[in-house]
Amino acid sequence: MLHEITLTVNGDPYVVAVRSHHTLLQVLREQLGITSPKRGCENGECGACTVIMDGLPVSSCMVLAAEADGANIETAEGLAEEGDLHPLQQAFLDHNAIQCGFCTPGMLMSSKALLDRTPHPSEDEIRHALVGNLCRCTGYVRIVDAVQDVAKES
């Protein structure tokens, strides 16, 4: 069964017909061509598909597209404004907090959601906020440092 939903992604309005059992992740990737949210497990375990939905980080593989009707969605594609990197993106670059890059978009969105709610988190708060985003390459330390740097500057 198809449902017509309206959603805003990175500021742009979309009207899409989605199937009942399709997830927000599928619709973003396959219908809207927004591919920064990655498929890592499709089971809410790895965080690679994290997007911000109405201000909260969600695993988009665990959200039915129909549930996102009317939602405001933010993904890594929308972080930079007019070519200027978001401070988190710049901090990830400055700290070499990237290796293979597959977890990076999800990591950035979880970090942004944290800083949007808690502008000056402690290291513990950062580590807790990122616990659902698995990274096999970096050992996390530089990611935590990058988020801390942005928190200090803001």
Binding site: A48, L108, C137, G139
Partner: protein, 789 residues
């Protein structure tokens, strides 16, 4: 006068792939668009660990509307393999592990393909199973590969037909039996490790299109596009030039995306629906069981030293649980054999390293390639020997570790490395000589140290090549066929090219994404920590070739001697006449002769290659030879941890690492490897695939198979770089990508012993195991359990 170029080699320049990766622009296979013609594939997997395929009925699946084809082992019964051709693309007559690919269903949607896969009916006749490599190596064990003797095999691999041993490497040096009598201390022990998974965040994925013209294109998340082209061409009977493998960025490899995995399956599925691309993406569960895993190991050790702490003799037997197919595993057992002593100078060695077939998932390459497995026991026994003779464990290692010009176990002369410097650095960083106190009552604090070595384990002659091409504005494109898997290969390639050309680093772009076997220069595989060294040498050679061509043109133009010219900061300069010639324009249009009477020069393209030419064969009876490997990278780690006696949980407080990388082309990228590897190594100490008694995996998800999270990673990860130049490394560099996790688990075990007085010989180190060992007489419950649980 042109200023000197700031030297990019040795500078921590930013990653060249960083911008794409933080903006979400970086494309991985699943992000590529294939249009509405794309078909989807689903694999049918064996539900049993060992059995004969009696029949496969695909009629019901084929009848499902939307199913375009069903492919089985009958479609291409030729074997596939890099070192030992021991498997069919789809199981042909027999299955050997739960998760083996038996058939592939191609359909117009993922849902229909999945449904179709459920409709493929396979009838099996179960056979006796082997799960334990030691049991599998016994003469009466059920045979998993009765045809082992007929398989095609590389000339340095020695399977034992009629057994489950796919490789037996023998190392014989000195006289072990005679040496035991001279030992003051002898420690024996058995150490085991389970199979573990690479767990890249991107699962395996491949898209294939087989054109009616006979051309096959495969888009794959691959560390080995060229090796895959070779294997696909051989196995499918297609000319190499008709096979094109394209690999964009890959979301983590760690060895799991080396060699070949599902790519050949997808190619056969595409052959059945010619002209249309077919995509197969592994689910996370499939990733855990159907793709490759790290081998398990049962290792028996007997090691002795004299009263002064000098190692005298070592006898080891390694039984690698190679899983159902050992195409890659045989070379892991071989590598473990020729490096079986670990990083120690021992005069008398008897080593036997076996790869043994089992009915478990395919054991294959994983970061460290046999070294994490053998160091797990070696490094714990070194601590025990040191304790027996009353020597500090760090000092014991300084005394016995391999050094420059040692004749090591295979008879090879040890290239220049400085392992004692690595030991000193980690001892210093961890505060080795200072006692650290537990943070609270009930906590036990401990420190441990471990050292390692590892050589690139590969055939003797894997090659690299590179092309360097100038543009009108003197910007440069560097072409390589190595893969950026997160380690920073493209960044160091740009640094090396800029340095060798004499142009500013900012002028250089690496044109290597995606790696495309149709256009990229040849690179054997992105494995074995070999790119910085091997691909780096090729890039340097290509840049030098381009530089030489430029200088020849300018020398003729100025009528000067080539040797008086140089390129500095993008300008050709003469040390003799002090003339200058910017590279802009001339690197494409050349330079005019006097009075514009004709032109010389033209578009500048440099090419370069590297292939080691000096590795020799080893005697099959003794493992002796002039040069077993190209070189070794060495390093040390120290761990500070705390154990909670009420839960058995370990908190790793700090890991300090130091590696001798020869020359850090990009020091910060080396540190990112060291840090990430320390956490990967730590995580590996707590990981293990688990199976039920029928060989069915029971923890194939991130819920049941935990990998380290941001909360598990130590707060302090310290890295140090030692630089003892490698003779044939570019600017002296050697690789470090795998080494960074080799000895982490034994360093943790040694710290755990230091904290608790208990030696743990079997991985994983579960909290339950530690808790029970800390409470051998049981525990008194301090709270009342509710009556009904």
């Amino acid at each position: 006068m042109a200023t000197n170029t700031p030297s990019p080699v040795g500078k921590s320049v930013p990653r060249v792939d960083g911008y794409e990766k933080v903006t979400g622009a970086a494309k991985y296979v699943d992000d590529m668009a294939f249009g509405p013609g794309l078909l989807y594939g689903r694999l049918v997997l064996s539900p049993i660990a060992h059995g004969l395929i009696k029949s496969i009925d695909v009629s019901e699946a084929l009848a499902l509307p939307g199913v375009k084809a069903v492919v089985t082992g009958q479609d291409n019964p030729t074997r596939l393999g890099l070192y030992l051709k021991d498997r069919y693309i789809f199981a042909y007559d027999r299955v050997r592990y739960v998760g083996e690919t038996v058939a592939g269903v191609v359909a117009i949607s993922e849902e229909i393909a999945e449904h179709g896969a459920e409709l493929v009916r396979v009838e099996y006749e179960e056979l006796p199973t082997v799960f334990d490599p030691l049991a599998g190596a016994q003469p009466d064990a059920p045979l998993i590969h009765p045809d082992l003797g007929s398989y095609e095999v590389a000339n340095f691999i020695f399977p034992e037909p009629g057994t489950n041993k796919s490789e037996h490497f023998r190392l014989r040096k000195g006289n072990v039996e005679a040496a035991w009598a001279r030992c003051e201390a002898i420690v024996e022990g058995t150490y085991t490790l389970p199979q573990i998974q690479h767990a890249p965040i991107e699962t395996h994925i491949a898209v294939a299109r087989w054109d009616p013209s006979g051309e096959l294109t495969v888009w794959a998340a691959s560390q080995s596009p060229f090796a895959q082209r070779d294997l696909l061409a051989q196995s499918l009977g297609v000319p190499h030039g008709n096979v094109r493998v394209i690999s964009p960025y890959i979301g983590g490899g760690f060895g799991g995306k080396a060699g070949i995995s599902i790519e050949a399956n997808v190619a056969l599925m595409a052959k059945a629906v010619q002209g249309r691309p077919v995509k197969v993406r592994m689910t996370r569960e499939e990733e855990f069981i159907t793709t490759n895993v790290r081998q398990s190991l049962i290792a028996n050790y007997k090691i002795g030293c004299d009263a002064d702490g000098n190692l005298l003799a070592m006898e080891v037997a390694y039984y690698f649980g190679g899983g159902a197919y050992n195409d890659y595993g045989v070379n892991i057992a071989r590598a473990a054999g020729y490096s079986c002593t670990g990083p120690y100078d021992v005069a008398n060695v008897k080593g036997d390293s076996y790869c043994v077939y089992t009915n478990h998932p395919i054991g294959s390459a994983m970061r460290g390639f046999g070294m994490p497995e053998i160091h797990w026991g070696i490094e714990q026994i070194m601590d025990q020997l040191a304790a027996h003779i009353g020597m500090d464990p760090a000092e014991f290692r300084r005394r016995n570790c391999v050094r420059h010009n040692d004749i090591i176990l295979t008879g090879m002369t040890m290239p220049n490395v400085n392992l004692p410097a690595c030991i000193d650095k980690v001892a210093d960083a961890i505060g080795w000589d200072r006692e650290a106190r537990p943070s609270a009552p009930g906590k036990h604090r401990g420190k441990g140290i471990a050292i390692m070595w590892k050589a690139p384990a590969m055939p003797p002659n894997p090659g690299s090549s590179s092309i360097v091409r100038f543009n009108e504005d003197a910007s440069v494109n560097v072409y390589v066929g190595g893969q950026e898997i997160g380690q920073g290969a493209f960044t160091v390639a740009a640094q090396m090219a800029a340095e060798a050309l004499g142009v500013p680093y900012e002028w250089v772009k690496v044109s290597a994404n995606p790696v495309d076997t149709k256009y990229s220069p040849y690179e054997w595989q992105t494995v074995a920590s070999r790119l910085t060294w091997s691909m780096g040498n090729a890039v340097k050679a290509a840049a030098e070739d381009a530089r030489e061509k430029i200088l020849e043109t300018v020398a003729a133009y100025w009528d000067e001697d080539l040797d008086d010219l140089d390129i500095k900061n993008g300008v050709v300069v003469s040390y003799k006449s002090e003339r200058e010639q910017p590279l802009k324009k001339m690197v494409i249009y050349g330079l005019p002769n006097e009075n514009f009477e004709g032109w010389q020069g033209g578009p500048v393209v440099g090419s370069g290659k590297f292939m080691p030419t000096y590795v020799t064969g080893l005697d099959p009876e003794t493992g002796q030879g002039t040069r077993a490997v190209v070189h070794y990278t060495v390093g040390a780690q120290a761990v500070d941890l705390e154990v909670d006696e009420d839960t058995g949980a370990i908190e790793i407080l700090k890991i300090a690492s130091a590696y001798d990388v020869g020359k850090a082309i990009n020091p910060d990228l080396v540190l990112t490897q060291i840090e990430g590897g320390a956490v990967h190594g730590m995580s590996s100490a707590f990981e293990g695939l688990r199976f039920d008694e029928k060989g069915r995996p029971i923890n194939g998800s991130f819920v049941d198979y935990k990998i380290a999270t941001s909360l598990d990673a130590p707060r302090e990860i310290h890295g140090d770089i030692v630089e003892t130049p490698l003779e044939d490394g570019p600017w002296g560099a050697r690789g470090v990508g795998e080494h960074v996790m080799v000895q982490t688990a034994p360093a943790i075990a040694n710290a755990l012993y230091n904290a608790t007085g208990i030696r743990f010989t079997d991985l994983p180190l579960s909290a339950e195991k530690i808790f029970l060992a800390m409470h051998p007489d049981g525990v008194e419950l301090t709270c009342e359990l509710p009556e009904v649980l």
